[in-house]
């Protein structure tokens, strides 16, 4: 049993979307403190939209979203910011500021929110960069690095304030298998290095699910198709869960649609010219 920091994330009857367009409705889930939870689902199912709400970047249309026992959107300005400051975020492509070096990117929250001396900030930055294997790259700019390195640098920035909650948006997307495995290992290292840290990973990478997740929130068809421990997910006989885990297309998604013969003939005629 890992240390319980108390920083769990609870979604109660949550509905999220853009404008009048509802993306997810009636989502109920508990992402437990001190565990690695994974939000999974097909492309476009609302995973990243849900994450933006957890980050407080958008207000939900209905329901409550509690972080560490506090209803995030019921908090007033300063209290809201206080809770959000306890979250570290790794965006999909790192979202590093292009005009700053990696060192300055990682140092940014420390410089803005603390009065620590420059030398201390530098030590912390190098330590965090070392944790993600980038200690020698502090003076590089983001555009001088590969996608995987940018993601790792984004992770270093996310953990620089030792947040009790770490949120990662598609940390392995676009990475080769070796770098994807390295990113998974880094997230496991985070849990080992920061006991009690609640880690939430948005992904559709089944290998990551197998490698790191304890809890799962699966989104499908505009709501939560499953929420619970990963072992229960594997044992589930829900058709969508099974098709997702077994990487099978649903029957209704298999199309036998073909072009009208005359259109196909016209296309073929052009292609043969």
């Amino acid at each position: 049993m890992r240390a319980n920091s108390g920083w769990d994330i609870r979604l109660d009857g949550l509905a999220v979307g853009y404008g009048d367009h509802v993306v997810l409705r009636d989502v109920n889930a508990l992402l437990p403190a001190g565990e690695i939870s994974m939000i999974i689902g097909g492309s476009g199912c609302g995973k990243s939209t849900l994450l933006r709400h957890v980050l407080g970047l958008q207000r939900p249309m209905a329901g409550t979203l509690s972080v560490g026992g506090r209803d995030l959107f019921a908090l007033a300005g300063r209290d809201f910011r206080k809770v959000r400051r306890r979250m570290g975020v790794l965006f999909q492509d790192g979202a590093l500021l292009g005009s700053l070096t990696l060192g300055d990117n990682v140092a940014l929250p420390l410089r803005e929110h603390t009065g620590l001396p420059k030398a201390t900030v530098r030590q912390i930055v190098l330590h965090k960069l070392a944790l993600v294997g980038l200690a020698d790259y502090a003076d590089y700019y983001p555009n001088q690095l590969s996608g995987g390195m940018r993601k790792r640098a984004g992770l270093a920035r996310a953990i620089v304030m030792d947040p009790p909650i770490l949120l990662c948006d598609e940390p392995t997307s676009g990475l080769d298998p070796v770098n994807a495995a390295r990113m998974d290992q880094l997230l496991l290292d985070m849990r080992a290095n920061f006991p009690g840290m609640t880690i939430v990973v948005v992904s559709h990478d089944l290998r990551s699910l197998d490698a790191i997740a304890n809890y799962v929130l699966m989104l499908h068809d505009g709501t939560a198709a499953f929420a619970g421990p990963v072992d229960a997910l594997r044992a589930s006989d829900d058709p969508y869960v099974r098709s997702f885990l077994d990487r099978r297309a649903d029957e209704d998604q298999r199309t036998g649609v073909s072009l009208a013969p005359e259109v196909q003939q016209a296309l073929d005629a052009w292609l043969e010219r």
Binding site: R52, L55, G56, L57, R81, R84, R85, M87, V89, F91, Q92, D93, A95, L96, L97, G98, S99, L108, P109, R111, E112, H113, R157
Partner: protein, 267 residues
Amino acid sequence: MSTGPGILAPVTALGAATLRLLGEMGAMFLFLADGLRLIFASPKQIPKILNQVFVIGSKSLFVILLIGVFTGMVLGLQGYYTLVKFGSEGLLGAAVALSLIRELGPVLTAIMVTGRAGSSMAAEIGVMRITDQIDALDVMDINPMAYLVAPRIAASLISFPLLTAVFDVVGILGGYVTGVTLLGINEGVYFYRIQSSVEMADITGGFMKSLLFAVIVATVSCYQGYFTHMRRDGVGPEGVSNSTTSAVVLSCVFVLVADYALTSFLL
């Protein structure tokens, strides 16, 4: 009584466009007010402002020198051949200096800095928006308005009058080159006419214009970049491209409209 939609459509469209424009102007004004307030948010703003003074001011200096000297030379040339018809070529210094200090200095500086720095502000902030960098600042509890917009407004307020002063001085020297060196006007007369005709009100009026233009260019450019993701005419890189174009076009239009309004007020 029923009126066909065909009759009302143009009026409805005009009304909707007017409301949209007014809404946009109001949003831009609130954006400016927030930006101005956040200049004084913390002493940590000072290095950011100085960095932007370098980006907006120092990096625009060469183009201002270049445009300033050639504007002065053209003014000297045109002014000489106009004044000589009336036997008043001795007034060339006054004509060049007053044109530059009252009008051309602030306006051309604003337009050049719009092209050089305003477009870069819109593009940089726009790219930051579409690559989640602004959201990243937000979730790090770093106010993006304080981090990105306020220093640019403050730096523009510092840089524009200084660049305008440089433009005026090199423009007057450009007029000197054509009027005195090439066309043979007496050197003493050229500078005497400047001294006797330029009043303090002309100089302060020019600087007031440059301050107003600084606010316009910085606000419009930052606003266009900041709300790139809300554009209806394009998303992603196309949105950034359109934001940059809008920033330059709107800044130039607003500068010229404000110039007319302020000139009417000052005269």
